[in-house]
Symmetry: C2
Subunit: 237 residues, 2 copies
Amino acid sequence: MQDRIELAVSTVVFSLRPHPETGELTLWLPLVRRIREPYEGRWALPGGPLAPEENLVESARATLQRTTGLTPRHLEQLYAFGDVDRSHSADAAGHARVVSIVYWALVGEDEDAEAVDGENVEWFPVDEIAEEAEPLAFDHGVILDYALRRLRAKVTYSPIAHAFLPEEFPLAQLRRVYEAVLNRALDPSNFRRQILAQGSVEDTGRRQTGTAHRPPKLYRSAPGRSRYALTIQETDQ
Amino acid sequence: MQDRIELAVSTVVFSLRPHPETGELTLWLPLVRRIREPYEGRWALPGGPLAPEENLVESARATLQRTTGLTPRHLEQLYAFGDVDRSHSADAAGHARVVSIVYWALVGEDEDAEAVDGENVEWFPVDEIAEEAEPLAFDHGVILDYALRRLRAKVTYSPIAHAFLPEEFPLAQLRRVYEAVLNRALDPSNFRRQILAQGSVEDTGRRQTGTAHRPPKLYRSAPGRSRYALTIQETDQ
DNA sequence: CCTACTTCAGGTTGACGTGACCTTATGACC
DNA sequence: GGTCATAAGGTCACGTCAACCTGAAGTAGG
């Protein structure tokens, strides 16, 4: 056992991209390959030590920018993981105890486009990470599950889903975001009714053109709505 | 500026006691008087530095036991506060930067009874803390507000309120707990219907005697219920 | 012993939100 | 002009909730 406790800040970043095979919109996240022990060569959440003059959020934002080039639309603290035996494994033996303050973030389509797929950064569909041969470094697999649950819960009672989208968007696109996050189909009519009822979006007055069907209205997310609730409930602890 | 970042664990503890004047059930919490700089003499949340071989929850539990003699029924991580300028004030100038991982807890009536009101520990009604002449040490006032919001939100979608009560209790008592936490009156009939509908309590088959009215049934909290939701919604960010 | 009083237990009713489903609108494409 | 695809909007049966009402069951006081 060692006296020193190290403080790190990591971030789970979610983005939406079409799945390479099915073409459906799915959740992706960037992982960084460890270039030193412990867990050298394994995939981990982007993060790093907390600098003495850096706030927690700033630290999350800075590491994210440095490693992935991303500037998230939404960034929020998730949880502090700090058990003594966390990520207990042969790889970690003999290394310092680390308390990680983990954030989670959403990036929009446009920001996503600027993401760097460097040598040591790669994007993965979230539901395929569990199937990877190698589990994630440290307890990052557990952290990812936790973040995913939080995202799914929060999407039903807050308008964060908008953060995935550009400034203006048709309702169908917003619905596809919800479907991707919650991983189930939603009734277009009822979705429309609920979203419009709670006023988290407002009509821009314009429509999207160039579609092979009736042109959908364009909406933008309305400022300052609380009292948000979709009936679409997901599991909550 | 200094290089060292210190890690502390603090806890916001809630308990229910009758108000000394009105006699109504209200929320109370224990505070500890600072006996050294910074903020010497001011009231602060119970807490202390994280020991190298101690898990985060363990640390919260241990400090609580040591300072107040309390063993909470419910204990849960609240948030990590770690901004560089947090608790920025004349008192704090020149002292080390502290990142606090804050927990919040509930204690039942019986545990509460064993609480020690030592020289440097005192219980306060939550709504009177803001009126104190001296604000709390560090940013603990902000933290308290945050914890209170979390408690109020969580009480509507999870059966934690039971943690305030003894093993067996009449429904009216459970309702009074909700009323104290949410700070508003609830319709007895509708409260009964909602609580019974979601099955978070079960009938013990016995009744409370000695009351000046029809003897109420005694209930106990039922194990393992998720899918809990009271319509009684409070503010949520 | 009887009545008043209090709170618990449980039922009724109208308003409202939701899920399932249906109809119509409107553009592109051939 | 007809076909196609999806958006926009509507209908209806059902379940849930807040507000209100009635009866039950004990104690307290004369």
